[in-house]
Symmetry: C2
């Protein structure tokens, strides 16, 4: 009699976990990534280069999606996708980062966990191979949200994160971009131009190189996460911090609403708090993800004279990817497992 | 006949400018400041020390208010009030800044102009006497919003801003605080504790020193401005960036709604985007300044386990100053010119 009861209890427990697993497996999952927004037009692209971008974006998406499909965390999926893009010279993040006016590489990254609303961010990183991993370390192993420069490097070293020399970040393309920018005298012109002023073409010399990378994801447990990584702007003054490592500007995630990663002219994104603003419009104005994302990018950013775009995902797995530039490297995997990659505006 | 017409026209024009001046002089003006929130209780305060705080807060308010009364910009009033508090060893900003775990002083500041929604911010500053002036310089003379460390220092030097050695920031009190924090082994304990985790008393060792300063103001032209300056947390890991230099977290101003400056446990303010959130609740949820400010500090910040406060001013000159600590050094001048200074909770 006692044994029968035990068997009954065991079978009941089994059914509950099975039910839970079934329920979980029906929860939507999804991942979206970007590799930067800017003047990306078909006429200036070679078929080989376009193929390389599409393949690398697919690889990054697949890496993140594999984690989600196995029931892993969106936080891990975001990191995995970004690491692949950081390791590729195609993007302005990690290997392939642009040069500062000083001829150095200074990398920024941030990551946010929508479940706990905890965040980690780093800026001015010169010797860490994958800044997104350092951002995660700041979240998990420090009492802080943001660390910069030598202090952040020391923290990375202490925790055994893979470090590299500045030469690791050298790519011929990016060096030539710096030389072109310098020869245009952008350093001096740019410095005296005001943000959002009519000197916009001077500012353009230091902003035309795009390729910030980012990812947003939703896992089976309904947790959202977002991350962003960048080398900043070619010929930027050393010490400049853009929107990518600023929680609420370049990156934001909150299970209540959405996960966001941004790319574009960082200064405008910082002044507008672009990532948080999408959340706020959803939370306080009952906008849908698409409505909120469009309002922030196509109306507010555009209205202020800024350019760029975002990738956004809500708790139902819906994706929005508005941008006001010629193109944005972007892609997502939907709940059915279908991978979509896009580069140009009309695609 | 022609002369009569001219005289008529002249007198008309005179009346119009007089009317404009009269109208302007009836526009509300106001300024509010804070000198940090924390465990400030009457029992631990000497009468001399309390008097010194009240006098310095009054001096800072008067400096800012004088500018507003003469028709000057809120942006200038905010800077003037903060410079006075930076120059006083009473506050954890400028002279009187706390020490990092490395024994250095690293200062942060930011300023925002509500009329243009332009902003300037600096972090990790070691040799600039008044970081708020450098934040302003970033806004006015660089294409960037935020600059940190050596790059920001070089920018300051280039523009002739007053620079000082690290010894300038030394005060015996703050050094003793560092020694006390270190002897408690806070460096190691704090580093492994998670933000918002139950390790809150470990975190406390590096956050108990308060004294961030800030100001918000409204001028005759209806323009709002906000600024914040800090030395951060005693025994903080060097390289840590708090909320004070983060636009949307520690500082925000927008003529559409309000101007905000925050003080408290920076990490919570960054995760909550405290300053921008007050704006968002007013803009999207039609909350009043007081309602929005209270919701963010007394509900959201409190709910996440963080502590601190804000000063807030709306376009009508209304003031809100919620905080969830024992006290907050604070004060304001209202439209009638009356100066109010408060320190403790029940005051």
């Amino acid at each position: 009699m006692k044994l029968t009861k035990l068997i009954l209890l065991f079978s009941l427990l089994c059914n509950i976990s099975l039910l839970h697993a079934l329920q979980q497996s029906s929860n939507p999952i999804g991942i979206a990534i970007h590799g930067g927004a800017g003047t990306i037009i078909k006429e200036k692209m070679t078929p080989e280069r376009e193929k390389a971008y599409r393949e690398k974006l697919t690889e990054a998406l697949n890496a993140g999606y594999a984690i989600l499909k196995q029931g892993g965390r969106s936080f891990d999926a975001v990191e995995a996708a970004i690491v692949i893009m950081e390791d590729s010279p195609l993007f302005n993040a990690g290997k392939g980062a642009v040069f500062t006016s000083d001829g150095t590489n200074e990398l920024d990254a941030s990551i946010m966990d929508g479940a706990t609303v905890q965040a980690g961010a780093v800026s001015g990183i010169k010797h860490v191979k994958n800044p997104i991993r350092l951002a995660r370390l700041v979240l998990e192993k420090s009492p802080h949200v943001m660390m910069v420069g030598a202090g952040a490097e020391a923290f990375a070293a202490k925790h055994g994160l893979e470090r590299v020399s500045q030469y690791y970040f050298y790519t011929e393309n990016r060096w030539k971009s710096l030389e072109r920018a310098k020869s245009k005298g952008a350093a001096r012109a740019g410095e005296t131009s005001r943000k959002g002023s009519s000197d916009s073409d001077k500012l353009e010399f230091i902003t035309r190189e795009k390729g910030t990378v980012g990812a947003v994801a939703l896992d089976r447990n309904g947790n959202l996460a977002a991350g962003t990584s960048t080398g900043g702007m070619t010929n930027k003054m050393f010490g400049r911090v853009g929107d990518s490592p600023i929680i609420g500007a370049g990156t934001y995630a909150n299970n209540q609403t959405c996960a966001i990663s941004a790319t574009g002219q960082g200064e405008y994104f910082m002044r507008l708090l672009v990532a948080y603003d999408v959340h706020a419009l959803m939370a306080y104005s009952n906008k849908t993800l698409q409505e909120a994302a469009d309002e922030v990018i196509l109306q507010k950013l555009e209205g202020l004279g800024g350019s760029g775009g975002i990738i956004a995902m809500d708790k139902a797995g819906n994706v929005a990817m508005p941008f006001n530039t010629k193109g944005m490297y972007r892609g997502y995997v939907d709940n059915s497992g279908r991978t979509i990659i896009k580069i140009y505006k009309d695609e």
